[in-house]
Structures are given as structure tokens and as C-alpha cells.
């Protein structure tokens, strides 16, 4: 039944996410520029390649959680309390609390990204003309894999930060990761932000496997760190 708690906890956040997504879809639908010169990029790509990665960070921020400190942000001033003691009095391991919360949120994130990609492809005739449904599906896969690192960064932060600080922490952490990816001699093939934009299947027409693997490995490490924090932390 932990999934039930997670669903009740995240449903309005998911709804908010879907609301923002709706705005993006309307924006995509209403972008009708003149046909680009041969070889030039269609205008809707500008929206897609900028808004989707940004939106992915928003989704990660909204849906991540660690399952123990679960108070909404408007109650965060109370500190790491809320219903935490009640949660920890249940006969379940801390790993299960963390895994169910993080896993359910990840599925919601994947669903939201998948819906967004489908919606954009259906909403934009330019996009339909420029990329195949298979390429859009591959793009969704890339986004889900690359977003995982950011999502689990937020999960890890949820193990020791109040909700409102976790939101800020995730945004700052994501910005720091982006800065590191552009200002360090990291190969482009490992750059998860590039993989969601210029290096994505929409533009490069090839799957950024290295970046995806790197992101998933980073996500796994962050999950392990989160587990260690939860396991050793005293409440």
C-alpha cells in the first residue's frame, strides 16, 4: 500500500506538471512559421529542444521524493517532521520506503515525458513532417534515461532536506551539472544535457547511448547514496 500513499502524495504535483505540459503543447501547436530554407532547422525545434529539457528538470523537481519526510512545501517550515514518525513506525524497511517512493515517482516522470513527446508530435505538423514516430519514441527514451540522473539527484536531496530546500537544491544541482558538462573536458558523448538537445535522436538521428548509460549509472549511484543516508540517518 505504499504506492497508495505515494499516489496521494504526488497526484496534485502530477496534475500541475500536466498543466505546464498542456501550455507547452498549446505553444507547440500554435507555432506555425513559414517553411524553413532547405537544410535549415524547422522553428518548432527551437521550442522542443529548449523547452523539453527545461521541463524535464521541472518534472524531476516536482515528482521526486524519498518517502520518509513527506510534508508538502507549505509545511516545510515545521522542519523534518510532518508524518515522518508515523511512516517509520510502519513495519517496512527504510529501503522499501525509499524504493517505492522513488520508483513510483520515476514512473510518473517517465509517463509525463512520454506523454509530452507524444503530445508534441501530434500537436505539431512541422514536427510530424520532420521526424518519424520512431525517432520521437527514441527521443522520449533518451529523455527518460537522461532525466534519471536529475531525478535521483532530487531523490537523494529529499533524504536530508525539507521539501522547499530540496526544490531549490535540485535546481541548483541541475544547473551545476549543466555548468560542469559545458566547462569541463567531459566528452560530448557523455553530456546528458547535450543528449537531450543537440545530441538527441531528433537532431543527430542516432541514439546517445553513452550519455544515457552515464546518466543511468549516475542515477544508480545517487540512489545508493540516498539509501545510505536513509539507512544511517536518525529521525
Amino acid at each position: 500500500m505504499l504506492w497508495y500513499k505515494v499516489w496521494l502524495e504526488t497526484r496534485f504535483r502530477l496534475l500541475f506538471t500536466l498543466g505546464v505540459m498542456g501550455l507547452l503543447l498549446v505553444l507547440t501547436y500554435s507555432t506555425r512559421a513559414a517553411a524553413p530554407a532547405p537544410g535549415a532547422r524547422i522553428p518548432v525545434f527551437g521550442i522542443v529542444l529548449f523547452s523539453i529539457p527545461t521541463f524535464v528538470v521541472v518534472i524531476c523537481t516536482m515528482l521526486a521524493g524519498a518517502g520518509i519526510a513527506t510534508q508538502p512545501s507549505f509545511q516545510a517550515t515545521k522542519g523534518l517532521h510532518g508524518s515522518m514518525l508515523f511512516t517509520l513506525s510502519l513495519p517496512v524497511s527504510r529501503l522499501r520506503l525509499l524504493a517505492v517512493r522513488a520508483g513510483f515517482g520515476w514512473l510518473e516522470m517517465a509517463g509525463a515525458i512520454g506523454t509530452l513527446c507524444c503530445g508534441m508530435w501530434l500537436a505539431s505538423s512541422q514536427l510530424r513532417g520532420a521526424v518519424t514516430v520512431v525517432e520521437m519514441f527514441e527521443y522520449a527514451e533518451t529523455l527518460i534515461a537522461c532525466a534519471s540522473a536529475l531525478y535521483f539527484l532530487s531523490v537523494m536531496m529529499a533524504t536530508f532536506l525539507d521539501d522547499q530546500w530540496r526544490v531549490w537544491g535540485t535546481m541548483i544541482g541541475s544547473a551545476a551539472l549543466w555548468w560542469l558538462s559545458t566547462h569541463t573536458p567531459l566528452p560530448d558523448s557523455l553530456n546528458i544535457f547535450r543528449a537531450m538537445g543537440e545530441g538527441s535522436p531528433l537532431v543527430a538521428h542516432t541514439m546517445p547511448w553513452l550519455a544515457m548509460t552515464f546518466s543511468l549509472a549516475l542515477a544508480a549511484i545517487l540512489f545508493l547514496v540516498a539509501f545510505q543516508v536513509v539507512q544511517h540517518r536518525e529521525y
Partner: protein
Amino acid sequence: MIDHIIETSQLTKSFQGQPALRGLDLRVPTGSIFGFLGRNGAGKTTTIKTLMGLLRSDGGTARVFGNPVSDADRSIEIRRRIGFVTEDKELYPYMTVEQIVRFTRPFFPKWRDDLEQRYLKMFELPPKKKIPDLSKGMRSKLMLLLAISRGAELLILDEPTDGLDPAATEDVLRELVAIAASEGTTMFFSSHQLSEVELIADYIGIIDQGKMMVAGSLDDMKAQYQRLQIVFPNSVELPTRWVPGVEHVRQEGRVLSILASHNVDAIIEQARSLPGTSVESFPVTLKEIFLEHVRSN
């Protein structure tokens, strides 16, 4: 069946160098209603959190149902057999009463639907109401319902009547006693309300500065402790040393008030040996015993 459902030995715990528990020895007899008393910051909640596996002790041992609470796997099994009311009475703000009952039920194989229905009615908890819309008293009642309906062998209650009005407090206490009597459930509860503890507890433990000051059967304690009032003439020189058992001596004019923890007959005899004195003994309240121990510490 084990004799002591909760047993700690030399339990220690510090927070950033500040000791919260200093070698706590606690034994809660199976089937008892054990009142755990102490001032704010005495270590009650730290003890309860340690027993629930939320905190790790620095030293000593703690066992519940004979299982060490430090073992993570056993701790899950322990929690399956415990009903817990937290001090803060906080529950998920995004759930309604019926949702949190529905959520909690599957975790406990011995969940009692009959008790759930009974307390939903008795406590007049509105099933559709969101938890933040409930008063603190109603939240306390909801937490009690969730703890009692678990079909637990042990109820650990941290200030269970906090926020309840006197009528509701009496209802709750009566129900707790009824459950202990009918189901054989052991109750370990902390409270500041000494009158409540005196009303329902059969065992008490008084903790101060992380150490158990006194523990035992309340009846025995009340039988052992006596307040002696000695009226003496001016000419009498009072002894500087009393026989063992004198806990506290207070003099007001020609009246001496002695709190005796044991050896009462010998103390009376010593007092009567003083010429012209009259001695009367009175039973003491739990409040007097409590205050005596926390003040003397």
C-alpha cells in the same frame, strides 16, 4: 511468554555530545500498563524512539519482545506487533480519515476491523475529512484508533491524551484500560499528566536526566512511600542523621515533614524516641513521589 516485554540495560544515547540517556535500565512487565514519567527533556521520547528503531543507541542493549531493536530485520517484526502514538500526532496532510485507515490496515496482519469501526464511531471521526482539518484532539483520537486497531501486543503511546478535553481524556483512558484488560495488551505510555497515570497505570518508571530514578509497581510504591508529620516541642534537638529510608526532610516551625521511601516503622520509632513528639503518617500521591525524585536529582 516473556516476563518483560521491554527490557533495556545500561542504554546510552547522546546528541552532539549532550547525553540524553545515561545508562537507562527499564523493564516493562508483560501485560502491564506502564506509565513512563519524566520532565521535559528527561529522555522519554529518546527512549521511545530507540525502542521503535528510529534512533540507534550509543551503548547498552534494548530488547522488545525479547528481540534486539538494533537488528534492522527484527525491528520490522517488532514494529508489526506494536501500536504507536507519536508525540507530535502528525499524519499525512494529503489524506482523509478513511484514506489513512485504508492505507494503514494492510501493513498489519492482525488488524481489527471491529475495533476500527468501534473507535470510528466512538471518537466521532468524520471519514471524509482531511487530516489538517481535524483538531489536535481529533488527530490524537485518530492516532489512537490507528494504534489500537493494529491488533498490537504492545502499545507505545507518547503523550496519548495530549490535546484532548477532559471528557475525551476520560473516554480514552477508560478504553485503554478496557483493551489492556480484554486483549492482554501491554501499554507503555509517557505522560505529563500524573493524575492520568495514577488513574490507569499499574507500574511506573520515573526518568530524569536520562536515568531511571525509580521503577516498580505503583501499589507497592504507594505502600512503601509515606509522608510523616512530626510535631515536636521547642526543647527537642532534632537528629542530624535519620535512619535509612528518609528521602526528604522539610521543617516549618515545630513541624517536620518527612518523605519516607521505605523503613517507615524504623523512622517512626526514631521520631517517637524524641521526647514530647507526636507522629502521624499519611499516604503519598504519585505527584509527591515524582516531584521528590526529580527535585532531588
